[in-house]
């Protein structure tokens, strides 16, 4: 289980997160939606300490940490229990697909090479890339690169995987292969927090949808409730923009 309480983050004079709470149970898939600039990426980056939040606390498993005071050791403990899938994949260009997946295990966790390789080959197989182990990122399509990104996260066997718009940099015809890998991951009851505007994914897979705007959670609930019967005006406005067809049903 992962719980975040009252997280705040400011960039200069820009209040980006104004007290967000987030609770995700084991095996849950939480989808976060919201307009561009509402702080979704910042929230995920703060959870993983790629950005240092100004206030708030996080609990993952048995670890409880105040963002601001977290020591290097606590940061590393939290990072061990979280993994991140990036919008732009961010694969290591000097390593093969296999190397990318093994890196965290071998260099950070000191897992013996043989063992790490076996684990890595298995997760690459899981994302359908068993035959691409020796390919470098530049030899892979965007969809394949993102699937390596997901394998890299899976290999670490984290408490939660954070996805930041994993399909928004992809050509439309490549979105499907990544979504189906993500659905397969979800079916294994791996805890996921996913920022995405892919409604099909949210409706089919999400346990809960959170709508963020202006650095706060405006509304949350089951996918059908948020998408089909939103209570807040801001949520309706946002949905009208990303789902033009709802215009006609009003």
């Amino acid at each position: 289980m992962i719980e975040i309480r009252d997280i705040h983050k400011t960039f200069g004079h820009n209040l980006v997160l104004k007290g967000v709470d987030l609770k995700v149970d084991k095996g849950e898939v939480v989808v976060i939606v919201g307009p561009s600039g509402s702080g979704k990426t910042t929230l995920l980056r703060c959870i993983n300490f790629l950005e240092r939040a100004d206030a708030g606390e996080i609990s993952i498993g048995d670890t409880h940490v105040a963002f601001r005071q977290a020591t290097a050791r606590q940061v590393s403990t939290i990072r061990k229990q979280t993994a991140m899938v990036f919008q732009n994949y961010n694969l290591f260009n000097n390593m093969t697909a296999l190397g990318n997946v093994m890196e965290g295990l071998v260099t950070a966790r000191k897992v013996p090479k043989k063992e790490a390789e076996a684990v890595s080959r298995a997760v690459l197989d899981q994302v359908g890339l068993a035959d691409k182990c020796d390919a470098y990122p530049s030899q892979l399509s965007g969809g394949q690169q993102q699937r390596v990104g997901i394998a890299r996260a899976l290999a670490l066997n984290p408490e939660v995987i954070l996805f930041d718009e994993p399909t928004s940099a992809l050509d439309p015809e490549l979105v499907g292969e990544v979504l189906s890998v993500m659905k397969a991951v979800a079916r294994k009851h791996i805890t996921m927090v996913v920022v995405t505007h892919e409604m099909s994914f949210a409706l089919e897979i999400a346990s809960r949808v959170i709508f963020m705007d202006g650095g706060v959670v405006v509304e949350e609930g089951a996918p059908q409730e948020i998408f089909l019967r939103p209570k807040e005006e801001r949520t309706r406005q946002f949905l009208r923009r990303i789902l033009p067809e709802t215009d006609y049903t009003i």
């Binding site: 990072r79 990036f86 961010n90 260009n93 000097n94 890196e103 260099t107 890299r152």
Partner: protein
Amino acid sequence: MLNGLFDPATVFIYLPRLLSKLPVTLLIVVTATLLGAAGGMLLALVRLFRTPVLNQAAVVYISFMRGTPIVVQLFLVFYGVPWLLDHVGIDINRWDKLFFVILTYTLNTAAFKAEVFRAALQSVPSGQAEAAYAVGLTRLQCFRRIIAPQALLIALPSLGTGLAALLQDTSLAYTLGIIDVMGQVHAIASGTNRMLEGYVGAAIIFLTLSVALEKGFGRIEANLLIKRHH
């Protein structure tokens, strides 16, 4: 006395005498390259992390080294460093001239390499570093495993050019009285009144080395690129 301004056969008589001083030239080049690379990397990191005070000092240092002729630097180091150290009670006036020459070329190389390294390190997308931290790598591990290998590949052509330039630049070390390849040319010239043959001999040596360097770097780069399939 030999006849005419230029006698090709004499070149081959001088060549072994020039080659006997090649180790001195190579000592300068190799030492300055290795120490200069270490210094250049430090300067690049100081610049990249915008270390207070040191960053400004590095900027001034780098523009000075890149903006003044190497001959000027040779004399400034040869006379200036002992003078400065004399003020703090250290006497290095009697140290070998070669020490000051190597020091100058090292300081000069460090400045040029600093900018090469900085540009190369900056050109590795920062998202890869974030991904590295996210999978648990420390800053040092990230630098060693992800950033440095990619930066090195990007820097390789510039490093090759820099090495060739350094080799040529050593031709001014004779101004401090060092007997390297060029020093030997001048020694022969003043002893025999024959100028051209020595210079042609030096040209052959420098050209051979430059071409070999270029080929060598080309091969290293090709190997790395094939391995990485860019």
